[in-house]
């Protein structure tokens, strides 16, 4: 798959698990709230990487079950290593997926995570970046930060719960930085030269 335009596909034994795929290169798996997918942020990510977006809907099941359902088709697709984004209600599923022993996950971004954090989050051994919109009235992001003392935490200005739709450039930019450089993302490598 090298197209930057997302194609909808179906996974699972009964082919009832929808997902969208676009782009090429190393894989990013996004588990996101079910409405309005893929977002502009996913499209921007697909300009640089292969992106597979799974919706988190009521049909997907509880987070642990959703992680299992999403993990299975990834294996079928032959995806052994990937970076992971959990957005909104998809954050908890992303946590469970990151905990799966067979999952070859590089780094994890949790954007505007929804609901109380899973206690199991403490066991994540991957670098985690938690993003929280400044207009997000929920304290879930901060609760994840408390539960994951080694995670990185960033506010996304002027965003509420739907960071991928409200600030897509910011989400895509920082996710790629974090996936590519992990802890080193703290140090800017943006070019400040005005005129050579």
């Amino acid at each position: 798959m090298t197209e930057r335009i997302f194609a909808q596909c179906w996974a699972g034994e009964d082919r009832r698990l929808p997902y969208w795929e676009a782009g090429s290169g190393e894989t990013i798996v996004a588990i996101a709230d079910g409405e309005g997918l893929p977002t502009r942020a996913h499209t921007l990510l697909a300009e640089r990487r292969r992106v597979i977006v799974f919706p988190m809907t009521t049909d997907t099941g509880v987070p642990q079950e959703a992680a299992r359902r999403i993990g299975a088709p990834l294996a079928v697709l032959g995806i052994e290593r990937f970076d992971l984004i959990g957005e909104g209600a998809g954050a908890a599923a992303a946590v469970w997926l990151a905990l799966a022993p067979e999952a070859g996950i590089g780094s994890v971004v949790l954007a505007a995570p929804d609901g109380p954090p899973e206690e199991a989050s403490r066991e994540i051994k991957r670098p985690v970046l938690v993003l929280c919109g400044t207009k997000d009235g929920s304290d879930a992001g901060k609760r994840y930060r408390t539960l994951l003392p080694d995670c990185y935490f960033m506010f996304v200005y002027d965003a509420g719960r739907a960071i991928g739709a409200e600030r897509p450039e910011a989400l895509a930019f920082i996710a790629l930085e974090f996936f590519e450089r992990r802890d080193l993302f703290l140090v800017s490598r943006e070019n400040g030269l005005v005129f050579p």
């Binding site: 990185y152 506010f155 993302f185 703290l186």
Partner: protein
């Protein structure tokens, strides 16, 4: 009602005051040192005579003010002024690094033992030329920087910031403010947009060289917006700035100020900058009001409009009462208008001794 003394640290050497930017060819370091010492003397006098606050502000490239970084002046005042609050009204937020602002203001609050008043301003439009910032971005930069500074003051754990204009991978400022959750915040309330923003974000407002009628309209708008946002501003949430001079009698005071040059608008001294700023949309919905505010006027008109407070103590008190009654302002920020040596110090003493005690009852 409280009083603050605002000294802009005006350059006291011979130099034109109607050019921006002003060439360094006019500059004398001796005159600049004398200007600073005079400013310190006036602030010290205000503190001794009971002024509640002392005020500093940011202006660049001009003899109008020798405090391009008001934080430096405020740092000096934190040790020189023992009792009054130190009001930085303010840094020109959109042209500065907001994390640096959060750090420096927290440092000032710590150095002064919790006496900082933090004004966040958009500044005069010409300031955008100083650090080459597009004035069209002014309001958005201001809003984001203000939110970021509040976060920097109140978040106790390191955090990053993905803004529209500012990006930081990790922030964790030391020192932190003494006043909790943070020092009192003010911003300009001159424009409708500013009043709405201040009300929405529970911030006090100030008016610099406005007129009482214009400020009255703006305060009413601010109070309405605040009520809509679920809170009621206190008197101290409104600052009104005016030039002042007090003498023992009205005749002496008017004689002192009669020789003063008319107040000039820095941005209007450079037609190219004035036009460039206008085209950028900097003034928003407020362009007409801004023009009214900065228009040149005769002294009598400026007194009538509340831009200048001048006279003997009783006359000055009557003018102050009118401002209080019209605006409900709780803080009067008094600008040293006449640099007349001992007579200026006497003006500060007279205000502190004979006006301020009665003003507190208003």
């Amino acid at each position: 009602m409280k009083a603050s003394l605002f000294c802009a640290a005006r350059y006291m050497g011979a130099a034109p005051h109607d050019i921006w930017p002003l060439s360094g060819e006019y500059y004398s370091s001796d005159a600049a040192v004398r200007s600073m010492q005079t400013t310190f003397d006036q602030f010290r006098c205000a503190d001794e005579f009971g002024f509640d606050w002392v005020t500093v502000a940011e202006h660049h490239y001009s003899g109008f003010s020798l405090t391009p970084n008001p934080m430096v002046m405020a740092g000096a005042l934190s040790q020189l002024v023992r009792r009054a609050k130190i009001a930085v009204l303010g840094p020109t937020l959109p042209i500065l690094n907001p994390v640096r602002m959060a750090e420096e203001l927290a440092m000032l609050d710590t150095m002064s033992g919790g006496r900082l008043v933090a004004g966040m301003m958009r500044g005069t439009p010409n300031e955008y030329v100083t650090y080459n910032i597009n004035p069209a971005e002014s309001r958005e930069r201001f809003a984001e920087a203000l939110h970021l500074i509040r976060r920097a003051w109140t978040e106790t754990r390191p955090f990053g910031w993905l803004g529209r204009y500012y990006q930081y991978r990790t922030i964790s400022i030391w020192p932190r403010p003494v006043q909790q959750p943070h020092p009192p915040l003010y911003m300009s309330g001159s424009s409708p947009e500013a009043g709405e923003f201040a009300a929405r974000n529970h911030i006090g407002i100030g008016f610099a060289f406005a007129t009482v009628p214009l400020a009255k309209t703006a305060v009413q708008h601010y109070r309405t917006c605040a009520r809509d946002a679920g809170w009621e501003p206190a008197a101290e949430d409104v600052i009104y700035r005016a030039m002042f001079h007090v003498a023992d009698t009205d005749e002496e005071a008017f004689a002192d100020v009669s020789t003063l040059p008319p107040r000039i608008s820095l941005v209007d001294q450079n037609k190219a900058i004035a036009e460039g700023v206008r085209q950028s949309g900097y003034y928003g919905a407020d362009a007409v009001t801004q023009r009214q505010r900065t228009s040149r006027r005769e002294l009598a008109d400026r007194i009538e409009l509340g831009q200048v407070i001048v006279g003997g103590p009783d006359t000055v008190l009557a003018q102050v009462r009118r401002i209080r009654d019209e605006l409900g302002a709780g803080v009067l920020d008094l600008v040293v208008g006449a640099q007349l040596g001992e007579r200026t110090l006497h003006s500060i003493e007279l205000f502190g001794a004979k006006v301020l005690p009665r003003m507190r009852e208003l």
